[in-house]
Symmetry: C2
Subunit: 188 residues, 2 copies
Amino acid sequence: MEELRERTLASSTVFEGRIIKVKVDRVALPDGRESDREVVLHGGAAAVVALDDDRRVFVVEQYRYAAGETILEIPAGKLDPGESPLACAERELEEEAGVRARSWLPLGAFLTSPGFSNEVVHIFLATGLERAAGCRPPDDDESLTVRRIPLQSLKRMVASGLVRDAKTATGILLAADAMETGKRGAPV
Amino acid sequence: MEELRERTLASSTVFEGRIIKVKVDRVALPDGRESDREVVLHGGAAAVVALDDDRRVFVVEQYRYAAGETILEIPAGKLDPGESPLACAERELEEEAGVRARSWLPLGAFLTSPGFSNEVVHIFLATGLERAAGCRPPDDDESLTVRRIPLQSLKRMVASGLVRDAKTATGILLAADAMETGKRGAPV
């Protein structure tokens, strides 16, 4: 597919924030014509389907200002600079749900909005849960409520529209498949 | 969850493009403190799992400049102003895959990146496919290759990391579930 690549002719940063950077690039299309591409640069994120011994999943209810609604999500957060997706997932699980996991299985890494962003979210299945000793506080500007919901109920909530978050939907469906096909996490 | 909402104190548009608009808002958190929120406004999108009578799905291979890679996606595109998600899905299916569908089933509407964007992607299952008479050309700046891949193979490709696009992963997993549980589209 190399022939369909687009070549950067010029690049201009139009916004540099705390979470995203936005640039507009002039590109040469494969057929030689030119176009502009708006790009939101994001450092990536990690998300965790943390499954307890009763097959319940830790989810957080959180108001999302950008979306303008309170939604149900699996614990997730941005990668710190240089941080591995797994280390980020472990940190967010502890910060948001107050638990640690003995076994981790990568479920996949997905581009959330490839039409305009490079954001990749890495999703993990975590099992063998135990309450974290000294529970770390959540981020300064996060307000969230933690719940535990059976995996099968969450799967139905994805299909019925009650789960609105894409990474949560993907993670739940992949985790349900992994459990059905007998895949398990391994200590890492 | 009303008590966890964040109140807008000030809003400033930092970028207005063809596809996205970016603003930075000053907000009051539920506990009274203040924070900044970076928000990417997007008009929403629709995506289609178009399943033929042999349970193969139309997918497009497309270079995505923002992501920097060629990826496999179900046909999808931005909603035109005032356009319904279903009308957009019908249009994109015809433009990108050259087919029309007799039956449509909504599979869900998902926030792609609720941490910083309001983008919602509406996903449909389309069946009863027929080749469109006068095939509409794709968008001016799109270069894509159309393929048909069995639904079950695509499901494995999601689990094994070959499907990198989040909406495609969610759509494929939901469509596979819908077929397994006997849900079918209805003419709309």
